[in-house]
């Protein structure tokens, strides 16, 4: 899932300080799963900011709405009534949501409530880690299922580097050395030959370096 973390309440409060009525829009997608922007978190944020503004003597009227997702135009369309009459919408979706809202409702002031961070998964309830480098050219079959692009701090394709010690990356004792993991896994699978093979430089043009990307499926386009 896409994993995001809420901006501090103070930062969001500052962004809406001149608003009198705000819509807090949650998202039923990734941010619900990573417990940062679902229905519950949206209500908590709306309540907290309402209470804060009341204590400041500058009351805030809040409306909440949790979209199924904010990354499909159909679901954003369905918010047409919810956005009426508000001074701003605080979107708790990942970075995609506020952009869809801003595009569909160009006269609406849109605020991102999240610092969208990475594509990852949960390690245990309440802990999420980055797993996928979104490089556009997956090589997980060559590395025993461990991503060298994002789990290696240096995106090394022919690892590990000389900073790998005790299975940890040089940048922190809390970060596993991805290439150490790859080595252990390929060793277990009897496929260390994959690690001996020289890997060419990556084609970064398939990643964000090539510019904003687009994927189409002609067969499902209604046209």
């Amino acid at each position: 899932m896409i994993v995001a973390e809420q901006k501090p309440l103070a930062e969001i409060a500052d962004m809406i300080k001149d608003c009198k009525k705000v819509l807090f829009a949650g998202c039923g997608g990734c941010v619900t799963v990573c417990l940062s922007g679902g229905e519950k978190e949206t209500e908590v944020m709306a309540t907290a900011l309402r209470m804060k503004r009341q204590l400041e003597g500058n009351p805030l009227e809040t409306v909440t709405y949790t979209a199924t997702r904010q990354c499909d135009p159909e679901y954003v369309e369905a918010m047409a009534d919810a956005v009426k009459g508000v001074d701003a919408v605080v979107s708790l979706a990942c970075g995609v949501g506020p952009q869809y809202l801003a595009a569909r409702y160009p006269d609406l002031w849109v605020i991102p409530a999240q610092n969208t961070a990475f594509a990852g998964g949960s390690k245990e309830h309440g802990v999420w880690e980055e797993f996928c480098g979104l490089c556009g050219q997956c090589v997980l079959h060559l590395t025993g299922g461990i991503c060298p692009v994002i789990r290696c701090s240096k995106s090394i394709m022919n690892g590990p580097c000389g900073g790998s010690q005790y299975g940890k990356c040089e940048i922190s004792k809390d970060v596993d050395c991805a290439w150490h993991l790859i080595y252990e896994r390929l060793k277990r699978l009897g496929r260390l030959d994959l690690m001996r093979e020289y890997r060419e430089p990556k084609d970064w043009s398939k990643a964000r370096d090539g510019g904003p990307r687009r994927i189409t499926r002609e067969d499902v386009m209604i046209g």
Partner: protein, 308 residues
């Protein structure tokens, strides 16, 4: 000779026990310190590395420093990390360095920018050190840019170096990695500084078993320690480094820790030269203590340096 005139290559190919050292450029634009160190090392080394923003701290560039030390009559080994440049900038720098008279390049990954004074910088790592080795070799031997495009004019003919760290993990993989670098085209290797001699000897045993010492010139890295605190710091604060407690204790017990640090270094060099076959030279990394190198080279029995 395969390179366009590397003195280091000649010394090694002629079978001499080579000596290289390291100069750390300054955190400002005045080259006097670099030139001064070059003069100091002139008669005591065959070539000297110039570090490339080591530990991701901004310093006068390796190539520019190379120009200054060439002017002082010392052969530079340009260090190029993968951290700060993409392949376009790397190749431009390689062409530039060669055009300025440099003949040796050391390819390494580079410390992560988190360690330096600009931790918010973008992390490039477009190509990794293995790819850099291979592509720099290919530039020389096949006259090709990294993209495979042909070079129509003078190709840079570098003597290509890489690093090996017998003290990182997984230990048994370190020789496989060295072999991979040799297969990719590395011609000389400088190791991470050695304090755990036993581990280094085990590493070299595996190296010899695969005949790698016949295919690449390995220079053993050594660093004189100034104090037991410096030793302790390396032991606990630097990833990929092993310092046995015995060394820390020996420095603590010494009356003159600096002198003892130099003694330990000289002992290590002598030991390696006499008891560890397959090592073709020594790489003395006395960063911020370059003054001590002539003494080490002299007392380790490596002076005078062979003349070509």
């Amino acid at each position: 000779m395969k390179s366009g005139g590397s003195k280091l290559e000649q010394i090694l190919e002629q079978g001499h026990f080579a000596v290289t050292a390291e100069i750390g450029p300054p955190k400002h634009a005045d080259p006097q310190g670099v030139i001064h160190h070059a003069h100091m090392l002139h008669d005591y080394v065959d070539a000297t590395n110039i570090t490339d923003c080591q530990t991701a701290v901004v310093r006068l560039s390796s190539i520019a420093s190379g120009v200054h030390i060439l002017g002082a009559g010392v052969e530079p080994i340009v260090q190029m990390t993968c951290r700060d440049r993409n392949r376009i900038a790397m190749q431009a720098d390689l062409l530039g360095a060669y055009s300025l008279g440099m003949r040796n390049v050391l390819c390494l990954s580079g410390d992560h920018q988190k360690f330096g004074n600009h931790p918010t910088a973008k992390n490039v790592y477009d190509v990794d050190s293995m790819q850099l080795i291979h592509l720099v070799r290919r530039m020389r031997d096949e006259k090709l840019f990294f993209s495979g495009e042909e070079m129509k004019g003078a190709e840079p003919r570098f003597f290509v170096g890489a690093v090996a760290n017998p003290f990182a993990d997984p230990f048994e993989w370190r020789v496989d990695r060295l072999e991979k670098k040799v297969n990719a085209g590395a011609e000389f290797i400088q190791t991470q500084c050695i304090y755990d001699m036993e581990r280094f000897e085990r590493f070299m045993e595996m190296v010899r078993a695969r005949g790698l010492d016949q295919r690449v010139h390995i220079l053993a890295g050594v660093t004189p320690l100034k104090s037991w605190k410096a030793a302790k710091y390396l032991q606990t604060g630097v990833s990929g480094m092993i310092v046995p407690d015995a060394i820390v204790e020996r420095l603590k017990a010494a009356e003159d820790a600096k002198a003892e640090g130099v003694n330990i270094c000289i002992e290590q060099i002598r030991y390696i030269k006499e008891h560890v076959p397959g090592v073709h030279g020594v790489h003395i990394m006395a960063i911020a203590w370059e003054e001590v190198v002539p003494d080490i080279v002299g007392r380790a029995g490596l002076y005078p340096r062979p003349k070509l």
